[in-house]
């Protein structure tokens, strides 16, 4: 079985930052592997180590800079990587779900995987929708917010737990081929070993343009337009304790005594 894992490099915003137009200033951003995707990569690599998967391929929509992040996934055990990018994508302000679906569907068509794993959501634009949208587009079954996976190769079924709200899990059988969106906590993502990092240097990261995957610039046209970005207004009337650690702890202790929860 071949497993395709979608991997995203996400921007994290520094504690203090400025908004310039409809984006956060580049100097306030740091890039990292999307947390949810890290768990998806780990799940795929474990499927390979346990037997059912022969190959783990990652796919990323992102500029050349993203290769650093992709190398992390390769160092953790993915076999090779595909990176889709070109000028039309670079110019797009907001890659909406439909655009990402189109691009990833084109890659699925080329790669013909049996299982696609994605993170539940991404830490930056947080649509939380690409995996399920992709599944529908490529005619795969799917499961969203999966926090346990028991893959039955003989029956072609993924037995999954879906993490619902309020401490309830749904047990679901999903026919393969499928797209599963992976929730944090499903496994314990490994650290990349030095050996893995060395090996990753020689693994393939195939850059592809829209044309390479059989699409034209229309595929990037979005119905969603970002019109403004701002820091949310705080409705807070928080009373902040001033002073050094001893003083602030002292004030906090007073409050806890006043509220009658500590003596």
């Amino acid at each position: 079985m071949k497993v395709l894992v979608t991997v995203k490099e996400v921007a994290e915003v520094a504690d203090d930052f400025e908004i310039e137009g409809t984006e956060v200033g580049e100097r306030y951003l740091e890039y990292d592997l999307n947390e949810w995707d890290d768990y998806a990569v780990e799940e795929a690599v474990q499927l390979k180590e346990d037997g059912p998967a022969e190959e783990v391929v990652t796919v990323t929509i992102g500029p050349e800079r993203a290769e650093e992040t992709i190398r992390m996934a390769l160092a953790k055990g993915a076999d090779r990587a595909i990176r889709v990018w070109d000028d039309a994508l670079a110019e797009a302000e907001l890659l909406d779900v439909e655009t990402k679906t189109n691009l990833l569907a084109a890659v699925v068509e080329e790669e013909d995987p049996d299982l696609v794993l994605t993170g539940v959501q991404s830490g930056d634009d947080n649509f939380g929708a690409t995996g399920v949208s992709l599944a529908d587009q490529i005619g795969f079954e799917w499961g969203a917010v999966v926090n346990a996976l028991d893959y039955d190769h003989d029956e072609g079924v993924a037995h999954v737990h879906r993490e619902l709200e309020g401490g309830v899990e749904e047990l679901t059988d999903i026919q393969m081929p499928a797209v599963l969106t992976i929730q944090t906590g499903i496994n314990e993502p490994r650290y990349a070993s030095l050996r893995g990092i060395r090996q990753a240097q020689s693994k393939e990261i195939a850059p592809k343009t829209l044309a390479d995957v059989g699409l034209d610039a229309d595929a990037v046209e979005s119905d969603l337009t970002l019109t403004s970005m701002y820091e949310p207004e705080s409705e807070s009337d928080v009373e902040l304790f001033e002073g050094d650690a001893s003083e602030t702890a002292g004030r906090l202790a007073e409050v806890l005594r006043e509220k009658g929860v500590a003596e």
């Binding site: 309830v168 409705e235 906090l252």
Partner: protein
Amino acid sequence: MSSDVLAVAEHRRGEIRDVSYELITAGHHLANDTGGDLHLAVIGGDTERFGEDLNREGVDYVHTVSEGEEFNHDIYVQAVEALHAELDPEVVLMPNSVNGLDYAPAVANRLDIPLATDAVGVDYDGGLTVTREMYGSKVETTVEVGGDQQAVTIRGAEWPAAEGVGDAEIAEFDADIDTDVGSTVTGFEEVGSGDVDISEADFIVSIGRGIEEEENLPLIEDLVEALDATLASSRPIVDNGWLPKNRQVGQSGKVVTPKVYLAIGISGAVQHVAGMKGSDTIVAVNTDPNAPIFDIADYGIVGDLFEVVPELIEEFE
């Protein structure tokens, strides 16, 4: 040109979920702006009882689809697709819940309409504008959603729940659903039961990512002991395996309502806040003055927990 709004209710194990009533409020507001009707759909389960229950002020029609007992995304997608074809609404509203995200993206894809998820605001003025957050709630954005028809999922607890009995027309809708589907729900499992029920606690000390390493847990345990409090945490601590699931506060964990909730090294992601905002008094200790937790806290210390916690332990020893 269509202008109606279709909202899809959610239920689980025989109960309508709160987000359904919030959808009604959001949908009513939107339908007022579009000048159309608010149609509500409820799919599966005890649709007769659910239909009556969902007949709240602002709802014009309730369409019941009697297929299946519990949520099944294959059935939901077909039902919403069929309702969409029949009603031709301008906007489809669905919950941004775990189940909402298990079918809404497929609905949008199948109908070939744009999708905006996790909306905290929706407005219509000749076109649809959605308010969303990015970068872990650090920024808010407004997004114009083009196209003639759109799909939106709305975040729970952002709109008040609709109340009052309405005068909606309630009718069964025959969606002609293919039940030979590829996903089957086989059961449910309660997780998070264990030695302590944090939802009963009066005083909770809760920890998040800010404690950095498992090795720092004993420091917090000393504090909990000195304060005679109950230890809880946000999701990352449980994901890391440092505390069991029964200690997790939040959307996917427990909802707690203590007298005092002391949040240490917790940034205040919306999923966490959903589980603790009902606390009488919220106190936050965090190094980041912009952390969203300070927006809901009553008292706060902007500072290093590794300096503050030992001082606090000393106060009570």
